[in-house]
């Protein structure tokens, strides 16, 4: 079996000098697929994603992108390597316009990024309409679109989303999921942490259920939705 495009392999680690939160946790994302991390509160879902992005110390295990070991790189260096990351909160420049947010997303690019911006506007038409409005004045769902759009501006090889639907209404959530599926169809692998386990599993090609920093269940979204154990413990029967 060939190795996945992005893999956090048997990661063990925690924040700073604190105790380990992740214990031999493995997360991977394939090209063109949506991988989802779900699990109960405090399971280390976001932590696992941050570990892959280099925001905490991985004491053992490794992170590899397209076969290259990037375990030692800083988050900024990983962005240059082609990772796009959308944090859960504070993920836009509130005082800047939508268009400026996208420009800042493309900051590391020295080439012409007009085409990418057009693509982002095609994906999120509402942003084109509000391009000259301050991003902080938009609704929750629109802000998330700005955040995802900003991350897409680097033309990342992989996109990581930390709870993209936190705090938005169910209708907006469905729309965001649709957009995320569209992004995945363009061939960008997506790794996503989600609270709304059922909806997330429905769109997931690959899903990871974490419990206390360990892999509890792994499989396709459908498999896990059908899994008696998973249903009982996370999906309420």
């Amino acid at each position: 079996m060939s190795e996945p495009f992005l893999i956090g392999d048997a990661m063990t680690g925690g924040y700073g000098k604190g105790p380990d939160i992740l214990h031999g946790c493995t997360i991977a994302a394939e090209k063109g697929e949506i991988a989802v991390i779900v699990g109960p509160n405090g399971a280390g879902k976001s932590t696992a994603m941050k570990a892959i992005f280099g925001m905490l110390n991985v004491n053992s295990g490794a992170v590899r992108l397209d076969g290259e070991d990037i375990t030692k790189l800083s988050p900024q260096e990983r962005v240059v390597k082609g990772m796009g990351f959308v944090p859960q909160t504070h993920n836009i420049f509130t005082s800047m316009t939508v268009e400026e947010n996208l420009e800042m997303g493309a900051f590391i690019r020295r080439d012409d990024f007009k085409d990418t911006m057009t693509q982002v506007y095609d994906l999120f038409p509402i942003l084109k309409e509000k391009r000259n409005q301050a991003a902080g004045e938009l609704s929750g769902g629109q802000r998330q679109q700005v955040a995802v759009g900003r991350a897409l501006m680097t033309q990342p090889k992989v996109l990581m989303l930390d709870e993209p639907t936190a705090g938005v209404s169910p209708i907006v959530m469905d729309e965001l999921f649709d957009r995320i599926i569209e992004v995945a169809r363009t061939g960008i692998p997506i790794l996503m942490v989600e609270q709304n386990a059922r909806q997330a599993l429905e769109i997931a090609d690959k899903a990871y259920v974490l419990v206390q920093g360990r892999n509890a269940h792994t499989g396709t979204g459908k498999e896990l939705l059908a899994d008696e154990d998973v249903r009982r413990s996370f999906l309420g029967g």
Binding site: P75, Q76, V79, F85, P87, H90, T94, M96, M104, F107
Partner: protein
């Protein structure tokens, strides 16, 4: 009632000086607000940075005069201004490298940086006095007036004169140029936008690949240019004295906070709010009132709310009122 004469008297004693003083405060406050927005601390050394820049400009002016170079009807100091700005940029970059960088690397809290900036303030204070002395220095040369009170009276036939000093006109013109350049830079250039992004959301700016060291350097350079310009304009309009510049810190901070710390537009508005409050409260209104009111109501006293010695009390009072009732300032700024 003599409305026209009242208006001219008001313009002569309140509006024109207020505009010039407001422009000087606005440029000073812009420097404070940029440091606060991007380096995230209140820079108490700003007044003395202004003093240093002005001192360097005075030295440059003297050198130019010694060479026999003048700027015709305009003050020679304007020619020496780039030299003053250059020297100040070197000073603040050196200070940042020697002092602030250390605390930034430690991720020191803003309050620690404030205290550090006080230390820097005392050192700069000493340096300025050592270099140029403590006396009052007038360095404005060239044509003194754009319009003198007498010319105005002859032109209009009014009893009141309106004098506009060259330095006042220069202040307003330079302020407009400086502010337009700054806003163009912040809103249109890649580096300027990255500075705003860094000020808005530091973590996301780092994630976007914005280089924090470059942002900090550019910020210091702009602040040095603004501080020197503000200092030179104030010095041309009034006079240069190291101690006065240290005292200017209060109205400048008041302006920045009233406008909303971290918000450049607010700094400009704040500058004019503070300047006009100071001027109107310390102005003796008798003259204007005599023109405006019937003879029977002519005021006996000077109708001066406060003596000019208390002008700093005005900015202080405004500062406290704003902090109590609207801590984020008139414009959307950060809370102190």
């Amino acid at each position: 009632m003599d409305f026209l004469n009242a208006l001219v008297a008001l313009a002569n004693f309140v509006i024109v000086p207020g505009l010039a003083y407001g422009a000087q405060l606005a440029i000073g406050a812009l420097g404070v607000t940029l440091i606060y927005g991007i380096l995230r601390f209140s820079n108490f050394a700003h007044g003395d940075t202004m003093a240093f820049g002005t001192a360097m400009t005075i030295i440059g002016t003297n050198a130019l005069l010694a060479l026999g170079i003048t700027f015709g009807p305009l003050p020679t100091a304007l020619l020496a201004l780039p030299f003053g700005i250059g020297a100040t940029i070197l000073l603040v970059l050196l200070t940042d490298w020697l002092v602030y960088k250390f605390y930034r690397d430690q991720k020191a809290k803003p309050v620690i940086l404030v205290i550090v900036s006080m230390g820097v303030m005392f050192v700069m204070n000493g340096v300025v006095r050592f270099v140029i002395g403590v006396r009052d220095i007038r360095f404005a040369d060239g044509e003194r007036f754009l319009i003198t009170a007498r010319d105005f009276k002859e032109m209009t036939g009014l009893r009141e004169g309106l004098a506009i000093k060259t330095t006042q006109a220069i202040t307003v013109v330079v302020a407009i140029i400086a502010v337009s350049l700054l806003f163009w830079f912040l809103n249109k250039t890649r580096t300027g936008k990255s500075m705003r992004a860094f000020s808005d959301n530091e973590d996301l700016a780092l994630l976007s690949g914005i280089n924090p060291d470059w942002v900090v350097k550019v910020t210091w350079m702009i602040v040095a240019a603004l501080a020197t310009t503000a200092g030179v304009l104030y010095g041309l309009d009034k006079s240069f004295k190291a101690f006065t510049y240290f005292q200017l810190l209060l109205p400048i901070f008041a302006a920045a906070i009233v406008g909303g710390l971290g918000n450049p537009l607010g700094a400009i508005a704040g500058g004019f709010v503070i300047a006009f409050s100071e001027v109107t409260i310390t102005y003796a209104w008798k003259k204007v009132l005599v023109y405006m009111m019937p003879d029977s109501l002519e005021p006996d006293g000077l109708v001066q709310l406060m003596s000019t010695d208390y002008k700093f009390a005005v900015s202080f009072a405004i500062l406290i009122i704003v902090l109590l009732f609207k801590p984020t300032g008139l414009f959307k700024g950060q809370s102190v």
